[in-house]
């Protein structure tokens, strides 16, 4: 597969960086080449975080890029922050719980996912909304097998799972719901 480029942006604390890293890690587990790189401002919370992930069958020469194949905004101000990464054909996901104004996204097919409501009602844990988003993202990434995520999630969240064993099933459920929303 050619180099598939993903940009994700959210408010600090929403998990944009973790999502970017987990996807890259899972791709690596499947034998793909992958890079993930964060960009964040000085505030951990209250600032906007963005992250870049690339997945390819070939070595990836540079960690940043100018146009994305998959574009994800977790909050309204994220839309402005990463608008420049849109190109014709970019697949777009927005967390419609926070993204209400889609005027910048006319001309793109947008997957509007109310991830917080879905996570709250179906998983009973609204904080797993980023797992819903991640599942939806994986549903749109060619050549990536969702099965690799179980292991990667377990490794990434091992300390959190120890403290809260319920979270494992919740994360996996949220991921599966998101995946089902976009995967055709």
């Amino acid at each position: 597969m050619a180099n598939f480029k993903i940009v994700i942006c959210g408010e600090g604390g929403q998990g944009a960086l973790s999502v970017a890293e987990i996807i890259a890690q899972a791709a690596h587990t499947q034998g793909k080449r992958a890079l993930a790189m964060p960009f964040f401002s000085t505030e951990k919370r209250g600032g906007v975080s963005m992250a870049f992930t690339q997945i390819s069958d070939e070595p990836i020469p540079y960690p940043k890029f100018g146009k994305a194949d998959l574009w994800v905004a977790l909050s309204q101000r994220s839309v402005d922050r990463i608008a420049a990464w849109l190109q014709p054909g970019t697949k777009v996901i927005v967390n419609s719980f926070l993204v209400k104004d889609l005027s910048l996204l006319k001309g793109w097919e947008v997957s509007e996912i109310d991830a917080v409501t879905v996570a709250g009602e179906e998983v009973r844990n609204p904080r797993t909304f980023n797992m819903v988003i991640m599942g939806a993202m994986v549903g749109l990434i060619p050549g990536l097998d969702r099965s690799a995520f179980t292991e990667t999630l377990e490794r990434h969240f091992s300390s959190k799972y120890e403290k809260n064993p319920e979270l494992k099933a919740q994360n996996e459920k949220a991921f599966g719901i998101g995946y089902g929303l976009t995967h055709k």
Binding site: Q25, A34, L35, M37, F39, T42, Y62, P63, K64, G66
Partner: protein, 376 residues
């Protein structure tokens, strides 16, 4: 055993220091280098780390950390630190002393965007500081890696070079390399046949020293003193009284640096030799230039990349410039690499285009455009 791992650049550096046999880390965490300190703290507490008697010490600031590092080096321990941006500024205090005293301190520096409190992630604006900071003449060795694998490879090499040549040695990365997560092959020095220069105490009783002190340090700074019980100690002096004395030390240090440069200087050339445009870039920007050359595939441009920024491959650059109609200098800083390159090329008469983008990444597509607009 060689192993493919999926790690962040900073973790790769931690593993490199471990593979190089480093024992002590003295530092103060600062973005984007903090995970190096995190790695070492965790490693020092691990079973293997305790067995190897690893030291992790967080100082009150980078000034304190830098002088603790010097203490570790004087005691003969393979020691290092990691810092970035404003921390790198404070670290120049100890670095200048290490330079003056020929101390093989190792610094992992991850450049971050300035002015200091703006973006914490990326820039190449610490070249001046790394190469020429302090009140000396820039007798340090500075490596600029361009990808994650080189972070590991040169992360090991700095420990050998520092002790072999007795100059402070810096691995100058940037926030992008530090924070990128990707694949790397780690290995032990033994399986690659790498022989690391062994650390040795500077302040020591005379008898157990393995080689003459004169091999190690400029003679005017050294004297022997007897302790109360008559034991003789090598004492290292960093206070010079006369201009002539200072000149003698400077000249001796310079001679040693020039000699080391013959063996240490590293560079890389990429692309077809007959290309008329020569792009000069270092670190991650040079990775972008390679990608641009590959994307174009037309042979219009080639790359010259200094791997050591100090000592700079001046002669090699002048040789590479032969046949070039135009030289493009590209860096994420304003005229820091540029000044060094123009100094090396002085008198060549070749047209130079300066592309300075302080604190912002330079994408391969941007370099393609730059090459095309200069190709006519």
């Amino acid at each position: 055993m060689a192993e493919k791992k999926f790690l962040m650049g900073n973790e790769i550096l931690g593993q490199a220091a471990r593979a190089a046999g480093a024992r002590a880390f003295y530092g103060y965490p600062i973005t984007p280098s903090s995970e190096i300190a995190h790695f070492w703290a965790k490693e020092a507490c691990s079973e293997g780390g305790q067995k190897d008697d690893l030291v992790f010490l967080q100082a009150e600031d980078e000034i304190g950390a830098g002088f603790m590092l010097i203490g570790g080096i004087l005691a003969g321990t393979r020691s290092f630190t990691a810092t970035a941006g404003p921390g790198h500024i404070l670290m120049q205090d100890s670095l200048a002393m290490a330079e003056a005293m020929r101390l093989p301190c190792v610094y992992y520096v991850m450049q971050r965007g300035g002015p200091s409190t703006s973006t914490v992630i990326y820039s190449q604006q610490e070249v001046n500081l790394a190469c020429f900071g302090g009140n000396g003449n820039g007798y340090r060795i500075v490596y600029s890696p361009s990808n994650l694998q080189e972070m590991f490879d040169y992360g090991i090499r700095v420990f050998d070079v520092a002790w072999k040549y007795r100059f402070p040695t810096i691995l100058l990365g940037d926030g992008m390399l530090a924070k990128t997560l990707g694949e790397v092959e780690t290995y032990s020095v033994g399986e690659r046949g790498l022989v690391m220069a062994e650390p040795e105490a500077y302040m020591l009783e005379r008898s157990p020293r393995k080689r003459p002190i004169a091999d190690i340090m400029p003679s005017p700074e050294f004297e022997v003193r007897a302790g109360e019980d008559g034991t003789e100690y090598d004492c290292y002096r960093n206070c010079l009284n006369w201009e002539e004395e200072a000149l003698a030390v400077n000249e001796e240090t310079k001679d040693a640096f020039v000699k080391a440069a013959e063996e240490v200087t590293e560079w890389e050339e990429y692309g077809q030799k007959e290309s008329r445009i020569l792009v000069v870039a270092h670190g991650i920007v040079s990775a972008g230039v390679k990608s641009a050359i590959d994307q174009m595939g037309t042979g219009e441009a080639r790359l010259f990349r200094p791997i050591t920024l100090r000592p700079f491959p001046e002669r090699q650059l002048r040789e590479a410039a032969v046949g070039a109609d135009r030289i493009i200098i590209a860096e994420s800083a304003d005229n820091q690499l540029g000044r060094i390159v123009k100094d090396a090329l002085y008198g060549s008469g070749i047209d130079i285009v300066e592309h300075y983008r302080p604190s912002i990444s330079i994408l391969p597509e941007e370099i393609v455009g730059l090459i095309r607009s200069n190709a006519d």
